[in-house]
Amino acid sequence: MSTDRFEAHDYYMMDELLTDEHKLIRDSSRAWVKETVSPIIEDCFEKAKFPEHILPGLGEIGAFGPYIPEEYGGAGLDQISYGLLMQELERCDSGLRSTASVQSSLVMYPIWKYGTEEQKQKFLPKLASGEWLGCFGLTEPDHGSNPGGMLTNFVDKGDHYLLNGSKMWISNSPLSQVAVVWAKNEEGRIHGLLVEKGMEGFTAPEMHGKHSLRASITGELIFNNVKIPKENLLPGRNGLGAPLSCLDSARYGIAWGAIGAGMDCYDLALRYSKERIQFGKPIASFQLIQKKLAEMITEITKAQFLTYRLGQLRNEGRATSAQISMAKRNNVEMALDIAREARQIHGAMGITNEYSIMRHMANLESVITYEGTHDIHLLITGLDVTGIAAFNS
């Protein structure tokens, strides 16, 4: 099985744009990942086993809600720090990053932004430490790219709400203590509800058979007349904009994460091509290999700057959803292209678990689909520049 010899590449001395603390956070998370996760990740992937035991460690390195204020158990960090953490996790595995970005951006973020003080006190510290896991239920069997058409709904029963419906493709769901569930009220308005493990009529069965993100656990959420206490509604915001604002935060993290996956593949390809001898010389001496490597580092460098600038805009609260869509789309495609080229450079070895490339490639097929598919993000940019929506008739 593979050993983690990763060395970071910083072609444009981008590190000079980071603070000492950014670098300390990044280097510490990288060291933790190498020590704790790299040795087990291939096995987890092969056996489709979610490494639950590392959750407290993820909490310790600050991967859960790093930008949540310290009073709620977060680290009160900026958006660049969040991005760097996601980069380091996805450098190892997109599933690892998924666990953290769902917890941070799709569970902690809405509770922090739209929850009551009691909800924040009850959930955020335990989610930040990794004692609890959370999930985000938006997608339904018949509503993926079009979540606004959702059928899951709740009815006001006076002293409680009654929730019915189902969600599908939900990361972390089978192991979650709390699910942030988006459902329509009687007027058809979307609200967020905090559904807790053990509530009567609520189940979260695991989904099997994924060829991608196998080290991350995915499941359904099934609500069969679930009584939800009224204090479990997120009062701060309603409408589709509420879940979409969470997705903005998660997609921003994915944009950084994808750079991590791309860097890992490039690093492996560069090293392998210098070590592998064919026709009496390292394959790195052939022009076609150099073209692949040169294009990889060019694309990584471009993505690093795009994403760093996006981080600055987010720090200032100025990044638009459309800007985030552009970065998510660009970077995930970049990483997937690099994974494919890196796999070719490795020849037959590239398909084995000696190298992380094929795992990254398989994982990125999920990443390019979830949190808005590749094409939907393109249409968001299209809408942004033309003012005309092309995804609904």
Partner: protein, 246 residues
């Protein structure tokens, strides 16, 4: 227990090594620095373990410029209570040791810990000199340290075996591999490091005793030669005439 740990920076092991100023100065351009591993993994972590078990404080000391602040912050993030930086370019081992000793003699430390050497210059002199300036015992290359009241027991690797040494505090030691295990800073530690004191103090006036005339890089690694397994004569010929090993 009051412990003082000497911390210096060293280039990351993946750095490209080059020199400037007519090969008299290390070229720092583009070099990433880490905490010298012997200082961090062994001396600092063992010091922290000791105060965690039986109370006390760990202070770090660095002779260096502002460029050393990141590695000092890392030491604080790992768990040191406070840091001192003597604001001077480290000129030579004598200069560094004297600066540290000047501070240490006022500080009333029970143990001064250094790494056995820095991984860039491999001088291995600072600890011994600090001990001399403080007129304290010195235990070099310690792989194990236990403290019981005013007595410390240390282990050292010696040729073909182990030496167990006992020494009364205060004393100075240099730490070698085995004394402790690397600790990765966690987010709490990184956040706490923001507000821990990093005291910058002026150096004492002092001239260095040595100066570097020249650095040289080792010869580039020769390319690997492949010899046909049928052609033993050529192999012997090359080993004899070219490599001159037989």
């Amino acid at each position: 227990m009051k412990l003082l740990v000497c911390i210096s920076k060293a280039p990351d092991t993946t750095s490209k090594i080059a020199f400037t100023d007519g090969n008299t100065k290390f070229d720092e351009n583009g070099v990433q620095y880490i905490v010298n591993p012997y200082d961090e993994w062994y001396a600092l972590v063992r010091a922290l373990e000791i105060v965690e078990a039986s109370g006390g404080t760990v202070t770090t000391i660095t002779v260096g410029t502002e460029a050393d602040n990141p590695v000092i912050r890392k030491a604080l993030a790992i768990g040191a209570n406070e840091a001192i930086r003597i604001d001077a370019e480290p000129k030579d081992p004598f200069f560094v040791a004297k600066q540290i000793a000047e501070h240490a003699k006022e500080g009333g430390y029970d143990i001064v810990l250094t790494g056995k050497e820095t991984i860039n210059y491999n001088g291995a002199q600072v600890g011994a000199m600090v001990a001399e300036f403080l007129d304290q015992p010195f235990v070099s290359l310690a792989t194990k340290l236990d403290v019981n009241g005013n007595t410390a027991t240390l282990e050292r690797d010696v040729s073909g075996g182990l030496e167990v040494v006992e020494v009364a505090t205060p004393f100075v030691l240099s730490a070698a591999k085995g004394m402790a295990e690397q600790r990765i800073p966690n987010m709490r530690g990184i956040m706490a490091a923001r507000t821990k004191p990093l005291n910058v103090v002026a150096p004492v006036e002092l001239a260095a005793l040595t100066s570097v005339i020249n650095y040289e890089l080792p010869n580039a690694k020769a390319e690997c030669k492949y010899i046909d397994p049928e052609n033993m004569e050529e192999l012997v010929e090359l080993l004899h005439n070219e490599a001159k090993v037989i």
